[in-house]
């Protein structure tokens, strides 16, 4: 199945907040290394809940688990704030000091690659 173009946003969730002090745990991983998509987008991509998808932007690519949230309009993907989302957002603050954590153009596609655990994800930054 081909990928689809989406708008990526990020933000807080309650479970992410409950694990602010336990980011190296499974609970955090399960909650944050994921993306929420509208059911029709999931259908388009041929993914079911907990399948892995690759999200690619101009700034990088990251693999996360797919979850359904029909509160999202079509073409909008939400990844909870955290290391996985930040692998693909822009560091450009446009002179305002604020990176673009929301509203990033992305491409989502089904993938067989595995989701990187957080420590490994951090290691990708170490040249």
């Amino acid at each position: 199945m081909e990928g689809t173009n989406v708008r990526l946003i990020s933000g807080r969730t309650a479970v992410q907040g409950q694990n602010l002090d336990s980011k190296l745990t499974e609970k955090y991983f399960d909650e944050v290394a994921r993306c929420d998509m509208n059911g029709s987008d999931m259908e388009k991509l041929g993914v079911a809940k907990d399948d892995t998808v690759k999200v690619t932007t101009a700034y990088g690519a990251v693999v996360v688990k797919a979850k359904q949230d029909d509160g999202n309009p079509e073409g909008m993907v939400f990844i909870p704030m955290g290391p996985w989302c930040n692998a693909v957002v822009s560091g450009d603050t446009h002179g305002a000091g604020m990176p673009s954590f929301k509203g990033v153009d992305a491409r989502v596609e089904k993938t067989a690659e595995a989701v990187l655990p957080v420590k490994e994800l951090m290691r990708t930054y170490m040249g």
Partner: protein, 435 residues
């Protein structure tokens, strides 16, 4: 077992202060009431960093506090342009030590507002902010608007304590006497509670503010049939509800600070609030994320004159977000050492910034291990503010409260003391070199 009342939460910007816990054997064993699930989670505790550590050959090796503090001081002393970042999850006493340290070593001091409500501060510097304390809303507000904010997930007690669900002097009926409007790009948990949900196209909040403002100023005829994905009828409905409100409140969050026009969104939000003020009492408030992000801005501002992203390398404060903000400094490779305290850029900064953070000597001061720990060359575990140490904080509405100490720790050291000791070591190094 001891029951402790009036516990002040040290998690989010709500800073709920009516929490009741049970303490037994020097441990919080139960949260009886007052805390939301997120605050409860903090109070009940998580696994801690067991010991200070210094990275050798890629691995963190345990050491004493003295050794870690000395190593941290060395890093800062040798650095030509250190970044001292974080501060939002510790107390004002630590923040004050931090600003003093930054000034002494000529560093850049910055807090999480840089990636959160910094744009709100920039907007305030453009147009000011018509605001109030949360109790005003509890007692008076009959129309609440959450714009780009999802308190059901991010500030779980907010509506219950302060806004939509709360009861007060003129609001004794609670929800029944109030209306809730939620503006967001997707139907969040908060949106599901709303009387009116306005679904705006991602990045188009600026236009929607302009349209509502135009209507409040009596020029609805120039507004097109659809603005930012919102049909004109719905915009008219919102404007009409705003006109009828006796006391209206706009709470806004990252939905408008993180996107598109950034601080210009907030300027527009504030001007829209002012337009509402032509009809009734209207106020606006940023939903500050961490329990003391506001406090750092207060401390930094009264001490340096500027609220965040302050470059002290010239010996006097220099403020220019976009130049002196942390992500910019890191993305440009413009700092050569970092002290990260009470925050987690490893988890919350864009990759472009982390590539540089990974390269430079980094000190981490935190009770808990997190993604930043992977980059840290020195790790110094701190006492948990609000549980193991007391101190001052500022709630999202600038109300100052004092965290309580509810259990003892004979091992962990409070942030304030760690920073103080690092500073003392820096001075000692300077003394040795005869400066």
């Amino acid at each position: 077992m001891v029951e402790v009342t009036d516990v002040v939460c040290s998690l989010c910007g709500c800073v709920c202060d009516n929490i009741v816990v049970e303490v037994e054997d020097n441990k919080v064993v139960k949260v009886k009431r007052g805390a939301c699930s997120v605050g409860k989670s903090k109070l009940l505790g998580h696994e801690r960093i067991k010991s200070p550590a210094i990275r050798e050959n890629g691995e963190l090796k345990e050491c004493s506090y003295d050794e870690a503090i000395k190593k941290a001081a060395e890093i800062l002393y040798k650095s030509r342009r250190p970044l001292l970042y974080g501060w939002s999850s510790t107390v004002c006493e630590a923040d004050r030590e931090g600003v003093e340290l930054a000034e002494d070593i000529g560093g850049v001091v910055d807090n999480t507002a840089s990636v959160c409500h910094g744009p709100s501060v920039l907007a305030i510097q453009d147009v000011g902010l018509p605001g109030c304390t949360l109790g005003q809303i509890k007692n008076r507000a009959d129309l609440i608007i959450y714009w780009g904010s999802n308190p059901a997930q991010a500030h779980a007690n907010h509506m219950k304590r302060y806004s939509y669900v709360s009861k007060g002097y003129w609001t004794s009926e609670g929800k029944k006497g109030k209306k809730l409007i939620v503006v967001d790009v997707r139907k969040t948990m908060t949106a599901k509670m709303a009387d009116v949900f306005v679904q705006v196209k991602q990045g188009k909040d600026f236009q929607v503010f302009s349209a509502i403002r135009t209507m409040l100023r009596g020029h609805e005829d120039v507004v097109p049939d659809e603005v930012g994905g919102v049909p004109k009828e719905q915009l008219l409905e919102v404007a009409s509800m705003m006109k009828e409100a006796k006391f209206g409140m706009i709470f806004f969050g990252m939905g408008v600070t993180h996107t598109g026009a950034r601080h210009n969104n907030i300027v527009n939000a504030i001007q829209t609030t002012r337009a509402g003020h032509l009809y009734g009492k209207w106020t606006i408030m940023p939903m500050r994320g961490h329990y003391n992000v506001t406090g750092f801005n207060q401390v930094c501002c009264w001490q340096t004159g500027f609220p965040y992203s302050v470059d002290l390398s010239r010996g006097y404060p220099w403020y220019n977000p976009g130049e002196t903000s942390s992500t910019d400094l890191l993305a440009r490779g413009d700092c050569d050492a970092a002290m990260i305290i009470a925050s987690d850029p490893g988890a919350h900064f864009p990759g472009a910034a982390l590539r540089h953070l990974a390269k430079i000597p980094t000190i981490q001061i935190d009770p808990f291990a997190n993604p930043t720990t992977e980059f840290a060359d020195v790790v110094i575990p701190a006492a948990i503010s609000g549980i193991e140490s007391a101190g001052g904080v500022y709630r999202m509405d600038n109300v100052p409260l004092r965290l309580r100490k509810i259990i003892e720790t004979d091992y962990y050291i409070p942030d304030e003391e760690i920073v103080k000791r690092i500073h003392a070591e820096v001075r000692a190094l300077r003394g040795k070199e005869g400066e």
